[in-house]
Symmetry: C2
């Protein structure tokens, strides 16, 4: 049973556990201790146990976790068995890269349709997904179950398209636009993918490394 | 002055502050209080002050922060003024999307070269960046300052290419391959971009929302 409020840090670690368990199972590993799992992910065994305790009892004292069973439980917690459906808005470079390379199905999400404004694209299919005109967005949302909108439009379109999506009752936006969409009073769930945040964190650590090197050389 | 060890959460918030300050400055705002800045980012004012205190005194009691000055200080902390240079390995969909749409220069990083194995690409330029053969990787690393490798190769190539990069003395890898590269004993800094982690966190929140709705309807 899901507890009421699990910390954001725990939620962010769940997909990492899932990937690691997939990898272990591919390598024929069928059980693992919290210590071993932690070691492979740079976490302590007590952190691993605490994370899973948020959702109930998973392992067995002294035996460890059954890899496949734990994988299924985490997949369930992450909503991968809910049959969520997504649409993608903006079939540009990043939109196409996602449609071509990102296996939505592997993560339990069905990419059901794409939308664009370019007349040449409308009515065509890309990687098995039909591309609709942006004018059809509202009627599509009215007539189909859509949980997640993947937002891959140019910056200038980010806010107006978000307004149309929220007016259309969308639950969640997976935002690749680099535009901050979060409004304090909006009930829409927004997950931002900011490549720059990731690069800048990396840059921070590189700078720190350079400073450490310089300090060592000064000594 | 940078303090020795700043928590990962603080480091992850710095790029968000930077983006917000850029936005404020574009909108003509020249000073802002910690309370206002926090409100716009969903943080408390004391969290904002604590974050900046990790790096020294930034604001002035009762006056707030000068937007441009704070922006410059954060940019400096993030290493944006260090002249870091990057190479991109793997000019496929995601590699091309980054080369076309991601402004490395805006974040203080110079994308100096790209590498691929496809003969048709080698020797050509894409968006002003020359594409080299993978065979030239080692000699390029030897003869040029490279701080960051952007890894956009297919999954199967992720580990072998990483081994060549670390052997070549690279500081940091920006990893788009969905393959876990982190080795406990490696000194290479790895920043993983896992689209699936982001989608699954979103999926978790959508599932939570669904459960809350269902619980309300049962009452």
């Amino acid at each position: 049973m899901k507890q009421v409020k699990v910390s954001n840090n725990v939620i962010r670690r769940l997909p990492r556990y899932l990937r690691k368990l997939d990898e272990l199972s591919e390598n024929g590993v069928d059980k693992i201790s919290s210590r071993q799992l932690g070691e492979q992910l740079g976490l302590t065994s007590s952190q691993v146990r605490q994370d899973f305790n948020c959702f109930g009892e998973f392992g067995q004292q002294g035996y460890g976790y059954n890899v496949l069973a734990l994988r299924e439980q985490i997949a369930g917690i992450l909503g991968m068995d809910r049959g969520f459906r997504a649409i993608l808005i903006g079939v540009g470079n990043i939109g196409r890269a996602l449609m071509e390379n990102f296996c939505f199905d592997d993560w339990g999400v069905r990419l059901a349709a794409a939308f664009d404004i370019k007349p040449a694209l409308i009515g065509t299919e890309y990687k098995g997904v039909k591309i609709y005109s942006m004018e059809e967005l509202e009627s599509y949302l009215e007539n189909n179950q859509v949980n997640i909108a993947v937002l891959t439009v140019p910056k200038a379109a980010a806010i107006p398209v978000t307004e149309r999506l929220t007016a259309g009752g969308i639950d969640a936006i997976w935002n690749f636009t680099n535009v901050e969409l979060t409004e304090p009073n909006s009930s829409t769930i927004v997950e931002n993918v900011h490549f720059s945040d990731s690069l800048l964190s990396l840059s921070y650590f590189v700078a720190e490394r350079c400073d450490e090197k310089a300090a060592r050389e000064e000594q």
